[in-house]
Symmetry: C4
Subunit: 200 residues, 4 copies
């Protein structure tokens, strides 16, 4: 088992302990080389991954081995790797906080005043605000990726994450530890946002 596969399996278990990969949902990937990605195959519970559940695709999402079926949302992982050469790992999960907050409407969620904002590039202080884009869900993955890419082009600074309404979150980083750290940070802050709305 390669290091990349081991990292994906371990990350899947950690996400599962948080409840972020329910019902075979979610997917995880790592960039093996500039044009080669290791990604979880379609179906299968991401908290119970075995080495054979990790396959290889190119930057267009085409499987490198005949018969392999990559995750349905492979196009979103590849979109991140194509736009951001420094991206080394991408995580997609489903949490109750992400699902509920994104269903409240709007095309973005703003997070400010949290110490954990320091987990994001260009934000060395808690005094900043990050704006997480929220996209309407779409089963047409190329169309969804086109909408995501358009928002990236328009943004002054791209936050390494976005939400799909009623669906889940995409987060990336230079490697798997960085991606996991950003995912934990965002999920923590979104959980705080949800708790705040219950009280206020």
């Amino acid at each position: 088992m390669s290091l990349a596969t081991a990292a994906i399996i371990a990350a899947g278990r950690r996400m599962d302990r948080h409840g972020w990969v329910p019902a075979t949902a979610g997917n995880l990937s790592v960039r093996l080389s500039p044009g080669l990605i290791a990604i979880t195959r379609s179906g299968g519970h991401k908290g119970l991954l075995e080495p054979e559940d990790v396959i290889q695709v190119d930057l267009d999402g085409a499987p490198q081995r005949q018969g392999d079926r990559p995750s349905a949302e492979t196009g979103l992982h590849c979109g991140i790797y194509r736009h951001f050469p420094e991206a080394g790992a991408v995580l997609h999960g489903h949490s109750v906080a992400v699902t509920v907050l994104s269903r409240l409407g709007g095309d973005a969620i703003r997070l400010s005043g949290y110490e954990l904002l320091k987990a994001f590039p260009g934000l060395p202080t808690h005094d900043a605000t990050i704006t997480l884009p929220v996209f309407d869900n779409d089963q047409d993955i190329p169309r969804l990726q086109a909408a995501v890419g358009e928002r990236w082009r328009q943004a002054e600074a791209v936050v390494p994450g976005y939400l799909i309404r009623g669906h889940g979150i995409y987060v990336w980083g230079a490697d798997m530890p960085a991606a996991l750290m950003r995912l934990e940070a965002l999920e923590f802050m979104l959980a705080c946002e949800m708790e705040q709305r219950r009280i206020a």
Copy 2:
């Protein structure tokens, strides 16, 4: 230990980690052959199952070994296996979300706009709605099963799950992984429903 028994024990542990089999409640079964079911015996904590806690019954719920006491709700498992020849596994759990939402009243819970709806047959897109029937609790299991069967007959399309008010959820699938996946999907969406009601 047979594969079916191992699957039941593992599923019980997974449900227990979620808190879905409290206080010896809940029950799990697998179809061994068209007319033979492996099911958890009465009593005993479903998160701490041993091989001897899994017994065999026929489609009428009659134990195949003298002295075995099947779960009290065996009749509901058998009702599913009799109505749906393709059903290979049935899970019954108790969660706070199921208990609280079902006690709010009504004879159904509608779920729409969730990506996880794709876990259900005939629903390839998140744009659909599934309607989960809710039945009043009843200690007379044959009578309860009759009410459930009647609703199935009237329904245009049967969703592979239903709720019993103040009690729990029944979910089934072609095999244990499919049943577990649908249970996780429903519990996730019901948890979202409950969170939404706290905020709105």
Copy 3:
């Protein structure tokens, strides 16, 4: 290690997984013989018990070995064992639900319409109601036990559990599995009660 000690250690770990024995709070006991009780010693985290953390006391709470310091609330365990000869195990835990609901005021919490009510003696149907007494907290344990004993004498039927305001819950059963089952059932229903108050 005796079976009783092993049962106490395992129950402590299970309660800890639920978060019911925070900060060295909580205590667990088992009746070894009509007049001899095995109980957790004072201090020490009940989720990390070792065999030496379980000591023996008589029905008046007097340690059987010189130098042993029983739990501060030993008198409440002994009160249960003295009043109820059939009691074989007593569990005391602290949960957020118990703490918050008891602080809302009142001298009882009523639970009705839950399937899990079947876990309690004389209640074969979900249609019943159990009334859990709630007592004001008191550092004078003999005085608190006197108040508890008085409520038992006045009650038509004694429910095998009670709450201490802002403090925790006491539950008992014929043996440790029975006590654990009743504790899980009560905590589950109290969690539902708390969720209901957030929504309604």
Copy 4:
């Protein structure tokens, strides 16, 4: 591996199970001798510590080995060790309850009527109130420590804990078990406070 390092690693794992060290946040330390502290290094996930993640600093926070990078908030740990000679361990974590409650505003959080208040010095009864100071977040650690020290000087009695707004909690005790116990007690009571605000 020294006992102090083992204690730090185990405490980090326990805090991680609670979700209190998300995204490499949080830090843990133990006093090795009057002027020497073992503390977690900068970066790295505190739930996945290895022996090499624990370094040594003096009471001014200066690393004892060239090249070591102590946690960014080392100054706050050292502030506690300098002011309180009896302090033997300091824990810093991030929880949703701490983050949300501190963001509601105010310079203190009052806790009263909880049995778990007995975990704090000079408070042998549940009838007391403790006042947890809340400080505005500040990336200038010496300035933040100065504000904390000033509040300690003015206080009649110092509670061994304080909150940093939108950031986290600092707790200390004579040794790691004592610090962990106080952290669990405070987090439990703060979780109750948050639940209460949802209901009332």
